[in-house]
């Protein structure tokens, strides 16, 4: 049981809250008037994906969930989750849909991703800084409306995600996307 204090909190860290595994989505320090310090957190339940707020006393002890990162290949969807296979030991694990969240639109079969495991159970996926995907549908021609700098059009990539890209991007090109913001980064050929 790894006990930490609120002073050790980091965004993305995994902790036990109400006996269930949660991820710290964000936290901030608050000082109620003429009161001691507290840490207000937003915690995401790993079981049901729901985000709730909780305010800890500053310095309070909290149980951290030790988590390991595994390089795993995405295989296929199954039920309420997605099956991944460990590149090293070939073990398979199902990552619940709620843990993948919006990233599902970038999941490409046979690509390797960083899956977070706690005692062999998946607790999350570490979002890569960029994903490289093929443009499968790209309209020709310009965007509607005025074109003062940064003209864009929307394209569809191989996983079905829809992204805004510069006008020069054509069907069949490989592009890099920031999965956190769903924004085009660069060409990736």
């Amino acid at each position: 049981m790894a006990m930490i204090s609120t002073a050790d909190f980091k965004k993305g860290m995994f902790i036990v809250f109400k006996n269930e595994p949660h991820q710290i989505v964000e936290f901030q320090h608050v000082n109620p008037g003429k009161g001691s310090a507290f840490v207000r957190t937003r915690l995401k339940s790993l079981k049901i994906g729901k985000v709730q707020e909780f305010t800890y006393k500053s310095g309070e002890n909290v149980e951290e969930l030790p988590v390991e990162t595994h390089e795993m290949q995405y295989l296929y969807p199954e039920g309420e989750g997605f099956v991944f296979m460990d590149n090293q030991n070939f073990e398979q694990v199902t990552v619940a849909s709620v843990l993948i969240g919006d990233f599902v639109k970038y999941l490409k079969p046979n690509e390797t991703y960083q899956i977070l495991l706690h005692e062999e159970e998946a607790v999350g996926i570490r979002l890569p800084k960029k994903v490289r995907l093929l443009v499968t549908e790209a309209p020709d021609g310009g965007a509607r409306g005025n074109t003062v700098g940064g003209a864009t059009k929307t394209v569809v990539v191989e996983t079905g995600a829809v992204v805004s890209v510069p006008l020069f991007i054509k069907q069949g090109e490989l592009i890099a996307i920031d999965p956190e913001t769903n924004s085009y980064l660069e060409r990736s050929n």
Binding site: K18, Q28, H29, V30, N31, P32, G33, K34, G35, S36, A37, F38, V39, R40, E53, F54, T55, Y56, K57, S58, E60, N61
Partner: protein, 318 residues
């Protein structure tokens, strides 16, 4: 033309000053650097050293103009106010906190905290009238009051009066799943407030009244119910904006609080400022004076009035 946040701030500060001058309050320019600070258990101070005459004298940045204003009051029993840079060694700067912020603080002789609720209403209405273009906060004649006990009953299911004993509060908090090891009564009270009451306060302005005396050492205990303090806090947009009370002038009581806190800090290996005897002396000479005061966060008030959402927008040069 839309005014910038800094122009808005300047105009509102001008209105605040005019309000107090029009009501014949004396403005007191209070020092930021002081030799000792009120040892309130929950305030963390910035400290530094003064290379005075070859010696290193410890000095502090004030957390509020309170002690200076009370010393002023003791010498000249006049209604007074100060707009003072105040410093709190906070963990982080975020949308509602900065290590330095502007506190408006005022005191009135022969008044109680209920008079100060009215005075706060008047100040807000005055600012709204003088700056109609900025105002998002609903203009109302006066803001409603809710006793802290009612909030507890409504949202926690129990009155905090039934939890005045430390062990009762601890048992109750434990049952609700809160961590209680090394926790003080004040911490548990506030933790429950922040988790179970504050989320329901909503965006409308309210005065929360009748705080526990236990956590309000500088406030006068209520005569009829001494476990309650004659204290209020103004909330708007879910933020605490102001804190006011009828003042406690029981020097011995306050001295005990400071001494306890000094011991507490030394035990934890923290810096423990000297007790400000001039402050205690001032309180003592005010013991036959009835007075009340308010501390109000100017930046937060501006945020509540104008809809600016981040305190750092009003302090861009930090």
């Amino acid at each position: 033309m839309i005014d910038t946040p800094l122009t808005i701030k300047a105009n509102i500060m001008k209105s605040i000053r005019s309000f107090f001058y029009e009501h014949n309050f004396q403005e007191v320019m209070t020092p930021s650097l002081v030799q000792s600070v009120p040892l309130e258990p929950t305030l963390s101070y910035f400290s530094t050293f003064w290379n005075s005459c070859g010696q290193k004298k410890p000095l502090y940045l004030t957390a509020s103009p309170e002690s200076t204003l009370k010393k002023f009051l003791a010498s000249e029993k006049k209604n007074c106010f100060s707009i003072a840079p105040s410093f709190r060694n906070v963990e982080e700067a975020n949308v509602t906190h900065m290590p330095e912020f502007l506190l408006l603080e005022w005191y009135e002789v022969n008044k109680t905290y209920r008079d100060e609720i009215e005075r706060t209403d008047e100040l807000i209405q005055y600012i709204q009238q003088k700056n109609p273009h900025y105002i998002r906060m609903p203009q109302s004649k006066s803001i409603s009051m809710i006793p802290m006990s009612t909030l507890w009953k409504r949202h926690v299911g129990i009155t905090f009066e039934s939890l005045m004993k430390e062990k009762d509060m601890i048992t109750f908090a434990q049952k609700k799943g809160y961590e209680t090891r090394n926790a003080t009564w004040e911490q548990l009270f506030n933790q429950i407030f922040l988790n179970e009451i504050e989320p329901h306060i909503g965006m409308d302005p309210y005065y929360i009244t009748e705080f526990p005396a236990k956590i309000s050492p500088l406030c006068k205990p209520n005569e009829k119910n001494p476990h309650l303090a004659d204290r209020f806090e103004l909330y708007s947009l879910g933020m605490e904006i102001a804190n006011g009370n009828t003042e406690n002038t029981n020097k011995e009581q306050i001295k005990t609080v400071f001494e306890k806190e000094q011991t507490n800090r030394k035990r934890k290996g923290e810096k423990a400022p000297n007790i400000d005897n001039d402050f205690l002396h001032a309180l003592d000479s005010l013991r036959t004076t009835n007075f009340a005061g308010v501390g109000l966060g100017i930046d937060r008030l501006i945020m509540a009035l104008t809809g600016i959402t981040d305190i750092r927008t009003l302090n861009p040069f930090f």
